[in-house]
C-alpha cells in the first residue's frame, strides 16, 4: 500500500515535470515507437520472401512479437536501470537514496519511471489482437488472466536479469559494458527460439531466459503443444530470476563505497 502510494506520487511528479518539457515527451514516445516499427517491418520483409520461419507462420511470428512488446513496455516504464552506474554510483546519488525509508531499489525504479514506454505495450496488445484474429484464435475464459500472469512473470524475468547485472556496478569500479550487450541479446527473445541453433536456444532458455518473455508464453495462446510446458514454467522462471536479482542487489548495496567527499 505504502509503495503503491509512492508510485502514484512519483508518477504525478513525473507528469508535472514532463508537462513543462512537452516536446521532449512526444519525441521520446515517437522515437520509442519508431524503433519498434523498424523491428516490425523487418519481420514483414522476411515474410515477403518466405511463408514460414522454422515452422512459424507470419501471423504467429507477429503474435509473438506483439506479446513480447507488452512486458517489454511495462519493464521499460517501471524498471529503468539504464545509466544507474553513471548516475547513482559514479555521481554518488545512491547516498541520498540510502538515507530514505523505502527500499533503495524500489526508489531507484520510481525515480526513473518512464511512462512513454507503455505506448509499446498498448501497441503490442493491438498487434496480438489483429494477428490473433487473422489466425482465428479464440478468446477463452482463461486467456486474459493467463496473459496478465505471464506478462507479469516476463517482467519479473527482465527485472531479475537486469537487476542482477546492474548490481555488478557495486562490485566493479568502472561501469561495465555488459548491459548494452544484454540489450542486444534480449532482442533474440522476440522471435521463435526454434529458428536458432541449439546452443542459442539453450542460452535463451536456461542461462539468460529471454525466450520466456516472448516466444514461450505466447506459444500458449497460439496453441502450440510443444511449448506448452515451457509456457507454464514462465512464472517459476520469473520468481527464480527475480529472487536472484534481488539477492545480488541487496548484497551489492552492502558493498557500496560512496563517491567523493
Amino acid at each position: 500500500m505504502y509503495y503503491l502510494g509512492l508510485l502514484a506520487e512519483y508518477l504525478k511528479n513525473y507528469m508535472k515535470t514532463r508537462l513543462t518539457y512537452r516536446a521532449d515527451f512526444w519525441v521520446e514516445m515517437i522515437s520509442d515507437l519508431l524503433f519498434q516499427a523498424v523491428n516490425f517491418i523487418f519481420i514483414l520483409v522476411i515474410f515477403m520472401h518466405t511463408d514460414s520461419l522454422g515452422g512459424w507462420s507470419q501471423n504467429e511470428v507477429i503474435f509473438v512479437y506483439g506479446f513480447f512488446m507488452v512486458p517489454y513496455g511495462i519493464f521499460g516504464c517501471f524498471i529503468n536501470l539504464w545509466g544507474f552506474s553513471e548516475r547513482y554510483i559514479v555521481k554518488g546519488e545512491m547516498d541520498r537514496v540510502l538515507t530514505r525509508p523505502a527500499h533503495n531499489l524500489f526508489q531507484i525504479f520510481l525515480e526513473n519511471v518512464d511512462p512513454p514506454a507503455l505506448a509499446g505495450s498498448a501497441i503490442g496488445i493491438v498487434i496480438m489482437a489483429i494477428s490473433g484474429a487473422n489466425l482465428g484464435l479464440s478468446l477463452e475464459w482463461w486467456t486474459l488472466p493467463a496473459m496478465l500472469l505471464l506478462s507479469i512473470s516476463a517482467v519479473a524475468i527482465y527485472t531479475g536479469i537486469y537487476t542482477a547485472l546492474t548490481s555488478l556496478s557495486f562490485y566493479s569500479d568502472a561501469p561495465t559494458g555488459i548491459l548494452p550487450l544484454m540489450y542486444n541479446i534480449q532482442s533474440y527473445g522476440r522471435y521463435p527460439v526454434t529458428i536458432y541453433n541449439r546452443a542459442i536456444q539453450v542460452l535463451l532458455t536456461w542461462v539468460i531466459p529471454f525466450a520466456f518473455v516472448g516466444v514461450y508464453p505466447a506459444a500458449l495462446f497460439l496453441e502450440r503443444e510443444e511449448m506448452r510446458s515451457m509456457a507454464l514454467l514462465t512464472p517459476a522462471v520469473g520468481a527464480v530470476f527475480l529472487a536472484i536479482g534481488l539477492l545480488a542487489w541487496n548484497h551489492g548495496v552492502k558493498r557500496y563505497k560512496g563517491a567523493g567527499s
Binding site: 547516498d95 541520498r96 540510502l98
Partner: protein, 348 residues
C-alpha cells in the same frame, strides 16, 4: 541516553592501483593490483542526546566516511555503531526514519518540480501524517522565511535558498538526530549565520542532536559545545572548544609601536623578571609573547611608563590558527610553540 555510540569503528576501502603508461594499463586489464586504504581507524566516541557536536578535520581525514557509516550508507569494516538505538546499516529503512541528513554538496530535492512538491513527496516517503506535516512545514517555512520560494522549481533557487530548503526537507519528519555534512559550504555570511541560528534554535526547542562536519570553524564556535577532531582516520581531539583553545592558545602576543627608537636589549631588561619573549623588526616596532599564565597588564605596566609608545595591539590566537597548527602537526597533544596569529587584533 546516548544518541550516538561508536566503538572501534573502522572502514577499509580496497582501491585499485593503476599502473603507469599504456603497458601498465594492459597489465591492469589482466591482473589488477589492489591496495587497502583505511579511511577510519578504530575510532570511538559517544554523543549524548541533545548535544551539538562538531566533527572537523582536513580533507580526506575520514569525516564523510564516518558520517556515511553513522547514517547507514556505508557498512563498517569492523566495530560497533549505534545511533538512536539502531544499528544503521543493518536496519537501514527503519533507522533513517529517525534521522535527518543534509549533504551540503548534494541535493535532497527534485530539480524540476516546485519546492513544495518535493516536500509533499518527502511527506509520503517518510509517512508523515498530513496534520503533523502542515504544522511542521508552517513552522519551518516561517522560521527560515521560505514563503516566496515554495512554488519555484529547485533549479531556479540560489544556493542559499536551496540550502534552507534542504534543511526543511531533512527536518520534515521531525528527526531526533540530524547529520549535516558541510551545511554552510559556499554560502554567504548572512545565510551562514541564519542557518547557524536556526540550528541552535532547533536544538534548544526540540532537543535535536546534531552532528556536523565543516571546514568553517565559525560554525563550530557558534554552535558546538564539543568538537571531535579527526586526522588521518584517527581522533586526535575530543572535548570542549574552550578547552581546545586553552590548551592550544598558549598565550597572547602584544605588538608595540614606538615613537622613538627603542632597542631590544632595553626592552628585555625592563621585563627581565618575566618569562616573556621579545622580538623586534626594527627599532620602532617590537613584539612580545606572553604565556597564558602571566597577566598582560603586568607587562604593560613595566613598559608603558618607560618607552615612548604610539600604538599597542593585543593579539589573541583564534580557533582558525589553533586548528591550522594542529592540522600541520597532525596531533593535538603537543603545542606547536608560538602561534603566529594575525587576526582578532584588539586595539588598546
Amino acid at each position: 541516553m546516548n544518541a550516538i555510540e561508536v566503538r572501534d569503528l573502522r572502514k577499509t576501502f580496497k582501491v585499485q592501483k593503476n599502473r603507469e603508461g599504456l603497458k601498465g594499463a594492459f597489465a591492469d586489464l589482466f591482473k589488477r593490483q589492489y591496495s587497502e586504504v583505511t579511511a577510519v581507524k578504530d575510532i570511538s566516541f559517544t554523543i549524548p542526546e541533545g548535544e551539538i557536536c562538531g566533527y572537523i578535520g582536513e580533507n580526506g581525514a575520514g569525516k564523510s566516511t564516518t558520517i556515511k557509516m553513522l547514517t547507514g550508507i556505508l557498512v563498517p569494516t569492523s566495530g560497533i555503531v549505534n545511533v538512536g538505538g539502531y544499528v544503521p546499516h543493518a536496519e537501514r529503512e527503519r533507522f533513517v526514519q529517525e534521522i535527518g541528513v543534509v549533504f551540503g554538496q548534494r541535493s535532497q530535492l527534485w530539480w524540476d518540480i516546485g519546492v513544495i512538491e518535493s516536500f509533499q513527496l518527502l511527506r509520503k516517503v517518510y509517512r508523515v501524517p498530513e496534520q503533523d506535516f502542515k504544522r511542521r512545514l508552517d513552522e519551518l517555512v516561517e522560521r527560515l522565511a521560505l514563503q516566496d520560494l515554495l512554488n519555484r522549481p529547485v533549479r531556479k533557487l540560489s544556493l542559499g535558498q536551496r540550502m534552507r530548503c534542504e534543511l526543511v526537507a531533512a527536518l520534515l519528519h521531525n528527526p531526533a538526530i540530524l547529520f549535516l555534512d558541510e551545511p554552510t559550504i559556499g554560502l554567504d555570511i548572512v545565510v551562514k549565520s541564519e542557518i547557524r541560528e536556526f540550528l541552535r534554535d532547533m536544538n534548544r526547542e526540540h532537543g535535536t542532536t546534531i552532528l556536523l562536519t565543516t571546514h568553517d570553524l565559525q560554525d563550530i564556535e557558534a554552535l558546538c559545545s564539543r568538537v571531535i577532531m579527526l586526522d588521518d582516520g584517527r581522533i586526535i581531539y575530543d572535548g570542549g572548544l574552550e578547552e581546545l583553545k586553552q590548551r592550544w592558545g598558549t598565550g597572547v602576543e602584544v605588538q608595540f609601536q614606538f615613537g622613538t627608537p627603542t632597542k631590544l636589549p632595553q626592552l628585555q631588561q625592563w621585563s627581565a623578571d618575566m618569562p616573556v619573549n621579545w622580538t623586534a623588526e626594527n627599532e620602532l616596532n617590537a613584539k612580545v609573547w606572553i604565556p597564558r599564565e602571566l597577566n598582560v597588564s603586568d607587562l604593560l605596566a613595566k613598559v608603558v611608563g618607560k618607552a615612548d609608545i604610539t600604538d599597542i595591539k593585543i593579539i589573541e590566537t583564534n580557533t582558525d590558527d589553533i586548528v591550522r597548527s594542529i592540522y600541520q602537526s597532525g596531533s593535538a597533544e603537543k603545542p606547536a610553540g608560538l602561534l603566529q596569529a594575525e587576526k582578532e587584533a584588539i586595539h588598546v
